[in-house]
Subunit: 351 residues, 4 copies
Amino acid sequence: MTWGESHGPAIGVVIDGCPPKIPLSVEDIQKELDRRRPGQSTIVTQRKESDTVQILSGVFNGVTLGTPIAMLIINEDPRPEAYEDFKDKFRPSHADYTYQMKYGIRDWRGGGRASARETAARVAAGAVAKKFLSITYGIQILAYVKQVYRIMASVDPNTVTPEQIESNIIRCPDQKTAKRMIKAIDAARKQGDTLGGIIECVVRGVPPGWGEPVFDRLHADLAKAMLSIPAAKGFEIGSGFGCVTMKGSEHNDPFVIRNGRVETLSNYSGGVQGGITNGQPIYFRVAFKPVATIMKPQQTVDIHLQNTTLQAKGRHDPCVLPRAVPVVEAMTALVLADHALRHKTICQWDK
Amino acid sequence: MTWGESHGPAIGVVIDGCPPKIPLSVEDIQKELDRRRPGQSTIVTQRKESDTVQILSGVFNGVTLGTPIAMLIINEDPRPEAYEDFKDKFRPSHADYTYQMKYGIRDWRGGGRASARETAARVAAGAVAKKFLSITYGIQILAYVKQVYRIMASVDPNTVTPEQIESNIIRCPDQKTAKRMIKAIDAARKQGDTLGGIIECVVRGVPPGWGEPVFDRLHADLAKAMLSIPAAKGFEIGSGFGCVTMKGSEHNDPFVIRNGRVETLSNYSGGVQGGITNGQPIYFRVAFKPVATIMKPQQTVDIHLQNTTLQAKGRHDPCVLPRAVPVVEAMTALVLADHALRHKTICQWDK
Amino acid sequence: MTWGESHGPAIGVVIDGCPPKIPLSVEDIQKELDRRRPGQSTIVTQRKESDTVQILSGVFNGVTLGTPIAMLIINEDPRPEAYEDFKDKFRPSHADYTYQMKYGIRDWRGGGRASARETAARVAAGAVAKKFLSITYGIQILAYVKQVYRIMASVDPNTVTPEQIESNIIRCPDQKTAKRMIKAIDAARKQGDTLGGIIECVVRGVPPGWGEPVFDRLHADLAKAMLSIPAAKGFEIGSGFGCVTMKGSEHNDPFVIRNGRVETLSNYSGGVQGGITNGQPIYFRVAFKPVATIMKPQQTVDIHLQNTTLQAKGRHDPCVLPRAVPVVEAMTALVLADHALRHKTICQWDK
Amino acid sequence: MTWGESHGPAIGVVIDGCPPKIPLSVEDIQKELDRRRPGQSTIVTQRKESDTVQILSGVFNGVTLGTPIAMLIINEDPRPEAYEDFKDKFRPSHADYTYQMKYGIRDWRGGGRASARETAARVAAGAVAKKFLSITYGIQILAYVKQVYRIMASVDPNTVTPEQIESNIIRCPDQKTAKRMIKAIDAARKQGDTLGGIIECVVRGVPPGWGEPVFDRLHADLAKAMLSIPAAKGFEIGSGFGCVTMKGSEHNDPFVIRNGRVETLSNYSGGVQGGITNGQPIYFRVAFKPVATIMKPQQTVDIHLQNTTLQAKGRHDPCVLPRAVPVVEAMTALVLADHALRHKTICQWDK
């Protein structure tokens, strides 16, 4: 459970249900937060936040206790004054109006609870889940930028490495395309405009048999987790929307025995069948809209129900994609850790 | 909560949390089930099931009591013998192998719990949710077939009517395109093959302020609900994956006062901003893969881990789309009803 | 999750989360239901219900599938006409008035959902949990009548056997006291009055380490489960209210090594310390009030808010204790099964 | 959700679901914490903790936002060295052994997570719930010490006031008895021994119709909440265990119209019938065992499974009762607030 407003004193997260005796250090968390941190490059927001995490409970002598893990990140550079102009105006395609309608009150300082700043807490929690999955099952989760605006990268999800992803500031392992993406974002930023794109994620090493059969299908939980990330508009697993133009005879993944193990010849299922993993890599894609905060004047209304215009100030991302990569990985890790812990309650097949 | 295996004695559902004093009759449920029923036309499975529902509790003198509503549908035409050949073989792109890996046992009769037959119970539950939403808030939920294979319909979600949708057996309101879709499905069926497609859903009349801000965003819950439907591979809301090729200045939905109410000039948000409704129509799309059961020989493995082949027998759908339309509506209704009941705990904005 | 009204067509239960491959037959369920069944002796209600259970899903070839188990019991002898007089009057110390205030509507036929008849569904579910706990862990759950009115039995919870409990119609293993209890109940029945009492329950064979440390302490969950049984007014574990008149030096349970295992010299903790089992027998007691339906005239009010009187007709229990024994065992089994499944997610101590 | 270890850097709590626009200040929280604080009088532990609370999120301009409220209490006076001797030894009737068996690891510093220090976080959360219940419904929750060891107070729950309760350090409104209780605790402390007792709680002003009919009965949730408090061994509502020696004709609460409202002549039900409130005051009692940490040598075992002895050092309570009073009130407030928010989803009776 995360908590905290963008320009309040701090944000944080409490993790319940983490197994005991997992080695865990502040560094494990911090290195993931540094990938999401503002100000890390020229194509992201210049808000100055070190995003330094403190672990307040649940870890003792370097290992988890099995009790709740509380983590805290102090907001070091809040500048609520930049938002004074939005106090009475609803920013288009933000959550200002909908929060007002739901709660009858809102923290107008930088979006408050609706700010993407909340995702720092998710990244902290995801770092714990990643560590647990890696140590216990050898699972590797890799997300990367697949597309920005009309610029599409060519990436093989089966061979992509963390080093390739981290080798540029856009986090696209296709280096040539990465340069074109960065240029496009720079150009949009200069125009006061913003761009969207697609993040692809691949998970390797998940054993077969994880997931639930009906409502809590693994890919349904992944869909929910991804759509809960700010600015996400779509989710697809395996063949995704592309499945529509294939016939059943093309789309089915034939089973085959390889080295005594059950594998599939193709992987249009994306590693999940009937909501449960089949041991193949899981891969999926998430669409992110262009950031709603643009530096151009926009038509809108105010809380007195009058038509008006507004123009953003403050420090904003021209493209959310590079900083969303660790968030996608974190949410994936949290979903998988949840299913890992559920799964252990169920006996497996004795072949 | 639904229960039941495809070829067991019965399937059913229990609904907890339905408010009291909602008028509810067996006919309300049955008319929705009849839309999902097998054998309703030439392009769906010919399994003979009347899908007659019984209400066993929670309704008294024609209105709900507020206590759990249990509903039961007897399986009238189980033919488990048609599945004898699959007892030891894993059907490609079905849940046979993954169930075996999760549970170490499976009901091989027609997919058992993984069968799409389970969705009849969801349609029954959805009918209750639809009645509640319609009576209490005047909400209308309409799903229809937007695309089959490469054949795309032209439909205006703002004006489409239930009559247009129900006027043909494929449930596509674009009548000309509907005929082409039906032909394509017939052709695939004759080849022993299957087709996928896209269902679009529009919801009208949801007040602003429904939803949750962080994890249980309304569209995240919709995504989960849709991906929990068998054969669903992708979900997108509003502009969806199309948002990627738009700039922020094109994609934002400007607010405007119309007749004293806050409206938006465009609706790329699909009626949801920051996870909470803004009063505009909600619309989203779901991709369904071609049915995995095809009438052609396929390569696979058996439970002794030997390579083998199988060929389906039995009664199957060549295209899941027309019968999935009421399932999409039902799941949408269940998500909205859940948020409706949560929402009432929160006070609204006093303008 | 249970469902069903006392005088509706049927009652039932759906169990989610039962592990696969547990052998389970209708007889396993029926034998527990027969212990709760009305009409089993002269000191219980004479309503004629065979309480015959049907298993509708989740079991295949005699073993559980891991999918939801739905069970159904048809109401064979509903006589709603006996309750016509209560349609407009609130029976004292029943749930009639509170249901009316909560739901604005109620099924007045025999208490509807509030009827103790609902506990038949719990006993069915508990039978599954008992089977699971017995087969997987060798756990034995024994409840018995400890006190009726002022008549208290002398029972050693460490040695009591199922045979002793079932050897008389009051289910009190102290045979002499049992006779006095039966006489007292008969006398009360003849006066049109009712009696309450105490049920004690002992659980043997629970391994150390089950439970949760803060909110879901094992004994807190037991307390909730017991107080959710109709007519229950109090719960105490181990020394219970008796702990109050002991000093810390008397009440502490000293640890000692016996046969290489950690045991305690006394067991005032009742087998649970800090919410987690310590491997000693768990024992607790539940107080049940005298049945509210008496055959004497009583002062009350009607739904028009007028003072009035009523006098019960129909078939009622003069004392709920003998039939509550299997309900206490069932609820205990459900709580333990829930913790058993959670517990497996946690690694144990490597000594 | 609370988090934190007794001798870690901090403890805290996150509250989700608090309605927006409730006025809330640090003082509201602090005044309750001061009642639970160590060192407040001579009969409680002398650990020096100011228990100063910080509100980190969810409150803006003095009112709640509807988003999660995070609160933090720094541990100012941890002295883990006092517990060095317990590192390898299991303290009798503490959670040391059971934590070790569950998690395979434990924070031995002052009980870690199992320490009653965790209840400070509950008191902070309860203060928010109390404020909400008081402002929105005028509900008043009062707990007080009813019995210490063999010394029983005479208190009328219908007229007792907060001032009477707070007028002495034991929090017993019967002033003469209070003095005897304090003397008894002092005497026990000098002997290195500890005492238990009973806390009674009364809730006034809860409207009829709150609660749930089957599993989440209001008094079942209260029972769970009370038994989740460290050292609690029993719970009883209304007549409680005393109901056993009453007949149905004595125990029933006759309804009567008073000033146009439905009331009861007696209140053996304790304000709850069938799990739902009837508008009468709710009252219940909780038994607390004598504190397990005594200053006398005790027999126990160590983690090498050897018999040994231990003797406590450190700062401990000779009797938990006076500091448990605000904890009982807090947990009661949390249960009621939860039901208040659920209840609003349900329509009421239109008389």
